[in-house]
């Protein structure tokens, strides 16, 4: 059994490194992105082999799925937007490549040495997490929302910041073909695609809700559910099954910010009830965390969808009222 698992792991790591190599070495960017998506899928399998199903879920949804879609979307828009000057890559340099290979081998040897040292380390933080009473059965959710709530709070803030920064790049009235050219409209959007996307919506909501509920005591949680929901939203937006909501609407802004706001509210409740921010009062810890996670799921979905779909072109206001 050990021999079989060793063979599987060697194959898996080897394929992952090869996929990364192909993604980095390829001079055709489309090809590079395709290999990067393969790399992400293989990474998800590696997380499973390391018994980290929560990370595997996030990697499959975000690392392979969303990041790949983001890159393909950008490439597609760049291709359609205007005449873009072709990139002239540096000529291949054997000495450079050889130095890289040498560094690679050296680093691997160093890591093997470090691994030997680490082998003697104690059993890690898992017993500590398991031994601390908390409302969450799933230790990863417990760390994310109970013990290390600040990390997650700041994570949501970074996500929102990325959305705001993206919006700020496209001020009102500035035409931006590379950002706002609609992608999948016209004849290629057949009836079949529309049917598929509409059918996907209830399934996506079901899966996201399941992941959210399950996250309390098994792999799953707000981020995994949020990405599933985001994927469905993105499909609906890029296939124009629904109109792109303007980022200037209050509803849109609320949907994007509601995660951070809810988190701050929970922090305030903790401050009021037990004197420390994010210290969930024991009488309501589980419902509080579950409610927070539900809101986070929606907000993460909205933010990720906004990042991928981008900002629709907003026509300028009537002249000379815009002070900015």
């Amino acid at each position: 059994m050990d021999a079989i698992s060793l063979v599987v792991d060697v194959l898996l790591v080897g394929m992952t490194v090869l996929a990364a190599l192909a993604a980095v070495a390829s001079r055709d960017v489309f090809r590079a992105v395709a290999f990067f998506i393969v790399f992400g899928a293989l990474m998800a399998l590696i997380w499973l082999r390391l018994s980290a199903p929560d990370v595997a879920l996030a990697e499959a949804a975000v690392g392979a799925g969303l990041t790949g879609v983001l890159m393909l979307e950008t490439l597609g828009r760049i291709r359609r937007a205007s005449d873009v000057e072709p990139v002239r890559e540096r000529p291949r340099h054997p000495a450079f490549a050889a130095a890289g290979a040498l560094a690679l081998v050296g680093a691997s040897a160093a890591a093997a040495a470090v691994a030997m040292v680490l082998e003697r380390a104690p059993e890690g933080l898992a017993p500590l997490v398991a031994g601390t009473p908390g409302p969450m059965e799933n230790p990863v959710t417990a760390v994310l929302l109970d013990f290390r709530g600040y990390d997650t709070l700041l994570e949501i803030a970074v996500l929102l910041l990325a959305v705001i920064a993206t919006m700020a790049l496209y001020p009102r009235g500035r035409p931006s073909p590379a950002a706002t050219t609609p992608l999948t409209r016209g004849p290629e959007r057949g009836m079949l695609l529309g049917w598929f996307v509409r059918m996907l919506l209830p399934v996506g909501i079901l899966v996201a809700g399941y992941l959210w509920w399950q996250g309390a005591d098994a792999p799953g949680g707000a981020f995994q559910g949020g990405t599933v929901l985001a994927a469905v939203l993105i499909l609906m937006l890029v296939t124009a099954v629904v109109e792109l909501p303007s980022p200037r609407w209050l509803v849109t802004r609320l949907a994007l910010a509601v995660g951070l706001l809810a988190f701050l509210a929970v922090a305030a409740i903790g401050l009021w009830a037990s004197g420390a921010p994010l210290d969930h009062p024991s009488f309501a810890a589980k419902p509080l965390i579950l409610a927070l996670e539900a809101v986070l799921t929606l907000a993460i979905a909205a933010c990720l969808a906004a990042l991928v779909v981008g900002v629709p072109h907003v026509p300028p206001r009537r002249p000379s009222r815009d002070g900015a």
Binding site: P187, E188, G190, L192, L193, F196, M199, L200, V203
Partner: protein, 98 residues
Amino acid sequence: MILDALSVGLLLAGCFFFLAGTVGLLRFPDVYCRLHALTKADNLGLQLVVLGLVLRSDNPFTAGKLILIWGLALAASATIAHLVANLAQREGHSPWTR
């Protein structure tokens, strides 16, 4: 015991169809033939793998989830194949003839 044997048989048959589909994807002459290999053979392979796993699953919820995944993959591959073929046709790729 019989269940185990049946399940292993189904999984192996599924792997065979995946292999056949991949060979078709790599060796067939044009977009349409490749789509044909990819959707037909791989969907059958996936169906056999899902069936094999359903036989091994320990409760009906796992089985239900597996079947849901299968249905989603089926719908997605049909849609994607349609989109790719549509695009290929509009870009003027004519089907391969002998």
